[in-house]
Structure formats: C-alpha cells, structure tokens
C-alpha cells in the first residue's frame, strides 16, 4: 500500500512538471516584455487527477482478467446479403429526407470511407505502413484539377485518368522502396508524401503554387450540368427535365455519386481479398520469409497492393476536387495521412465494416462537437495512443474467413 502511495505521489509530481510549462504558465506578451500568467487550478487539478488514478489502478488491474472482447458476430451469407441490401437502400433514399448540411457531411464521410478502404488494402491486408497515402490522394485531385485547368476536361473524362496517374505514381514510387523493412518503409513513404506536397507548392507555374487551382466544375449528370445557368450553352439539368432549379440537387447528386464510388470500391476490395492475390497479401503480412520460401515474389505482391491502394486514393482525390471546386496543397498535409491511417487502425486493420464505422465516427463526431473543435486534434492523437495500448486490433477486428468442417 505504501508503495502505491509512493508511486502515485511520484506520478502526480511528474504530471505537475508536465502540465506546468504548457498549461500552467501561459506566456503572454505586453509590448517588448514577455511575462507569465500562472494557472494554479490547472496544475493542482491535473496533479490530483493523476494521483487518484494511480491510487485506483491496482484495483482496476486485478479486475481486468477474463473480459470478453467484442467481435463482429458471424452471420450466414444470406442474412448478410439482406442486411447489405437494406443498408444500401437506406443510404440511397436517406438524402431526400434530410437537410443539405447533413448530406454534405455524409459525402465527406463517403470520401473518407473510400480513402480508408484504399489504405486498408495497403496497411490492413498487405501490412505495409504507408504514411504518405495523402500524396496519392493529392495526385488524383490535382490530375483532375490540372486536366480541367489546362485542357478543359470534364470530371467524367478525367476520373479514369486520376486513378491511372495515381496508380502509376504508386507503382514507380513503390518499385524501389518496397524491399525496405516495415518502419523504414513508413518513413520513406512519409518522405514521398511530403515531396509531392512540396513540389505542388513550388511548381508555381504548373500547379498554381500555394493557391492551387480553383473553379473546378462539379460532375455533370448524363451530360447535363447541375448549375443554375449553363456554362457553355448546353441545356442544364433542370431545364432538360423541366423542373425548377434547386441548389440541393447538386448536393444530393454528389452524395449519390460518392455512394456509388464507395460501393464499387467495397465490391472490388472484398473480391480482391478472396482472390489469390489477396491471399498472397495476407500471407506476406504474416510471414515474409515463409512466403519467399514458397516461391511468392514479395516485391511484386507488395507492389500490386501499393498500386491498388494508390488507385483508389486517386479516385477519391478526383472526387474531392470536384466536390470542393478548388484544390490547394493545404488539403494534403501529413495530418490528413494520419487521419486516414487512424480510420484504418481504429476500425481494425483489414476489416471493411470497421473502416466504414471508423470513418463515420472520426468525421461525424468532430462535426457534432463543434464547441470542442480546438481539442479535436488533441483527442485524436490521444485516441490513437489509447487504441494501440488497449485494443491494437481495432474496434471491429476482421474475422478471418475460414473453412470449417461440418459435423
């Protein structure tokens, strides 16, 4: 008991040292002079909390054994199909009955779902920690933006190219680096992500530098634009269908497009993982040396995962550019990579349901808790640490597809 008190006292003292220079003593400036404004309540409060937590910890630790962990329950295929059908129908109908702001947020969530599913291939399936994923997202977005800016291409013409260019970048960048070990790979991809961003800033004449490209048009619907007035003389959507113009149409249309893209991504990735290439990704993640001794070529397999992930990031990027109407390097910082990674990690690496759930959580919760906006990133970092310590397999870990003998 005295040991516990001693530990708790030391911990509380340390908490005081940690809190004091950052929260306890605010640096303020008055003219030339800087002075400090102490906030003793913060320091003492923090120390007390840590003291109490440390005192209670032994009790909590003893009770921890034997708790059951949540997993996705196993369901049969026919039930799963029905559930998916109901969910998709709901997602299709839902935007017509809610407000514009909600649909807009939902579109954002769908973009993150798409990015999360793309990164899930690389990190979750193939086990390659890619910290520069946002680079491919940027390549996709800029491909559409620049094709529009320099050549006047429309969204539908540019979309396949965005995916292809991103995939190509993934291929040529992945080619030399994929023989590196896990954590080196992470740092090199981080380096690539930053290089792409810095180049976008510095190639001023081509990319518009820090200002980026603006005025990017939204996608058209079967050739009809969803604007109030036609840009080039062709009839617009509301003229062609003889309905009054409503600015909500374009929001709902973008949402439905994002939904379709997400469904395609979901379908493709869930098929891929059942194909030999998907099996090879997972085998490689589990044991590279064993794979090599069985005749699998690690580099080609890793490269396919890397390229595939980059391609989905490219599609996501092109859609992002169309939705925002402008792109600039600010949208593609490392924090964005970390956010997408957090979606994959929080959801449970390799789990598609988990990725969707995590994307919803990480996008909707900050929107709901606007008054805590300044603590958003603080909590976000903390959640990443806590998740790794407490539940590294994620909220809804993947259930391995396995064959069972029927008895």
């Amino acid at each position: 008991m005295s040991q516990t008190i001693k530990n708790a006292l030391v911990a509380a003292l340390m908490a005081g040292v940690i809190i004091a220079p950052v929260f306890g003593l605010q640096i303020l400036r008055r003219g030339q002079e800087t002075y400090l404004q102490p906030d003793w309540k913060m320091i003492i409060g923090g120390m007390l909390i840590i003291f109490v937590v440390q005192m209670l910890r032994p009790l909590w630790k003893r009770r921890k054994t034997g708790t059951k962990r949540l997993q996705i329950p196993a369901i049969t295929d026919s039930i799963r199909r029905k559930v998916i059908l109901v969910l998709v129908l709901f997602a299709l109908v839902w935007p017509f009955f809610t407000g514009r702001a909600q649909v807009d947020i939902a579109t954002l969530v769908l973009i993150y779902v798409m990015l999360g599913l793309g990164l899930n291939i690389v990190v979750g399936y193939a086990g390659l920690l890619d910290l520069g994923f946002v680079g491919f997202y940027a390549v996709g977005a800029y491909t559409y933006a620049l094709l529009y800016h320099w050549l006047g291409w429309s969204f539908w013409e540019a979309l396949p190219f965005s995916g292809m260019v991103s995939a190509f970048f993934g291929y040529i960048l992945g080619f030399p680096v994929l023989r590196l070990r896990g954590d080196y790979l992470a740092i090199v991809t981080l380096g690539f992500g930053e290089i792409i961003r810095l180049l976008l800033i510095n190639l001023y004449d081509f990319t518009g530098g820090p200002d980026g490209v603006s005025g990017i048009p939204k996608p058209s619907f079967l050739g009809y634009q969803l604007t109030r007035r036609s840009l080039d003389g062709t009839p617009t959507f509301h003229e062609a269908f003889g309905i009054p113009f409503n600015s909500e149409h374009v929001v709902i249309y973008l949402y439905l497009l994002a939904l379709i893209l997400v469904l395609i991504t979901l379908f493709v990735t869930s098929r891929l993982i059942r194909m030999p290439i998907g099996r090879a990704w997972e085998a490689l993640r589990e044991d590279e040396i064993a794979c090599r001794s069985l005749g699998l070529n690690p580099r080609n397999i890793k490269l396919s995962a890397f390229t595939m992930g980059a391609m989905f990031a490219g599609f996501g990027g092109a859609f992002f550019a169309a939705r925002q109407g402008l792109v600039n390097p600010e949208s593609f910082t490392f924090i964005e990579s970390a956010l997408i990674l957090a979606i994959v990690v929080l959801g449970g690496m390799g789990s598609q349901v988990g990725v969707i759930l995590a994307a919803v959580l990480l996008t909707v919760v900050p929107e709901l808790a606007r008054e805590f906006a300044e603590y958003r990133m603080l909590i976000f970092g903390l959640v990443m640490v806590v998740m790794m310590v407490w539940r590294p397999q994620g909220l809804l870990p993947m259930k391995r597809p396995q064959v069972e003998l029927e008895s």
Partner: protein, 309 residues
Amino acid sequence: MSDLLPLLTQQLFNGLSLGAIYALIAIGYTMVYGIIGMINFAHGEIYMIGAYVGLVTLSAIGIGSGVPIPLMILAMLVVAVLVTAVYGFAVEKIAYAPLRNSPRLVPLISAIGMSIFLQNWVATGQGARDMAVPSLVTGSLEFTMGASDFTVTAPYSRIMIILVTIVMMIGLSLFIKYSRTGQASRACSQDLRMANLLGIDTSRIISITFVIGAMLAAVGGVLIALAIGKLNPFIGFIAGIKAFTAAVLGGIGSIPGAMLGGVLLGLAETFAAAFISSQYKDIVAFMLLVLILLFRPTGLLGKPEVEKV
C-alpha cells in the same frame, strides 16, 4: 573564383550550426532505435517542448531583471532539460512500454498518435501562433575574405550552438563509454534479451535512453529558439523527420553516426539552399533520406542487419 571561397566558408558555418542541432536530435532517435528497434516518432515534439520550456523559464526570470545573460541561458537549458526528461520518461511509460512485445507497426502508430497529441497539447496550452523569443545573444563575428571583400558573418548565437553541441557530444561519449549505465546501455543495444538475462534492469535502461535523448533534444530546442528568435508548436515535426534522416544517414543505432549524419545533412541542406533554391531545401533533405534508404539502408557507419527466422 575569388568569390567562391568566402561563400563556401559562410555556407560551411551555416551548415555546421544547423547540422549541430540535427545531430543533437538525431542521437535520441538513434539510441532508442539501437536498443528497442523502434522509431520514436514523438521525439521531434520533445525538441519543440524543450524550446517552449526555455522560453517559459526566460519569461519567469524576466529579461530586465539584471541576471547576467550566460546565467540566464544556463537556467533555460537546465530547466528545459529537467522538464523534457520527465516528458521523455512519461512518453515512454504511457505510449511505448505497454507495447514492448507487439508487432512493429503497433508502437509506431502509437508514436504517431503521441506526436500529434504533444503538438496539439502545446498548441492548446500556449497558442498555435508564432511566438517571439527575445534575442539574448546579439552580435556576430565578422571578417572579410577574398579579393572582393566578401564579409563572412558568424552570429554568436550560432557559434554557441556549435560549442554547446561539441561539449554535449563529448560528455555523452564519455558517459556511454565509461559509466556503468552507459556500459549497460551498450550491452542492451547489442542484445536486449541477453543483457536482461545477465541481470541488467533493461526497462530502467530503456527509460534512461529516452530521458537522455529528450535532454539532448531540449538543448537543441533552446539553442535554436535563441538563434532564430521565434517558435511555434509545429517546428518539431519537420525537425524530427530531418533528424531522423540524419540518424539514418549516419547509420541508425550508431551514436557517432548520428553526429556525423547530422552535420552532413546540415551541410547538404545549406548548400542546396545556397546553390539551388531555398524552396527546395526540404525536398533535398527528403530526397537524401529516400536515396540513402534505397542504396545504403545501413547508413555510413551502421552495421547490416540480417533478418532470420
């Protein structure tokens, strides 16, 4: 030709002072990697916190209080080192110690989370904007060189960086070589499990490694804040990645390698800024990182590592 020599001297000096800072941070990366084989992603943030603690100390003393300037700088360094030592210890205990035996990627992700947390911890506490640091060390050593009387400027604040770094490096080398703890830490970096079997308290050594790394980074943070004159909560990220590049360049796990790597990276960057374009200096640093990892992943002074079953 006559202009080139003084220009080179100037850039050499700039590069050395920048490289000294990288070397101070890089040692933290390399020591941690040498012992537990993990990239302490939050290390750059410790450097940033060191700079902030220095500024808090300076504000607590007050510039107009009549305390002599060398004493003031010493106080800043000592307080920063002590506080960041606690930070280093706590970060290790909270974010890494519980993950000792998990797959490699798990502690790395936890470290990224810690890095984001610490950045925003300071941004929330002290504000996210640039903060001015009063310049305590003013003036510079100037001398003309060459036929065209090119003036080479060496600010005293930057000379101080180089001198303090040299002192710290010598101190660290002696500590690692001769002290009992230093010997134990070398044993741990050779073989953590064997060291444990031979009765070394490895978790204590790991903690000490984090603490030493944090202290050196804090020294770097205080010195650079004084030399540049401003700081914000996000300086740690880029500095951290560059210091990591320096550690890899020198051969990760090797302490002399980190020193060498830091100086080389500092030189490469200043020369790139001087002769190519200052906008491309970050790109040069990242390219260097990528190229080293591709062609010589073991770095200049590192030992090759063979993965066995």
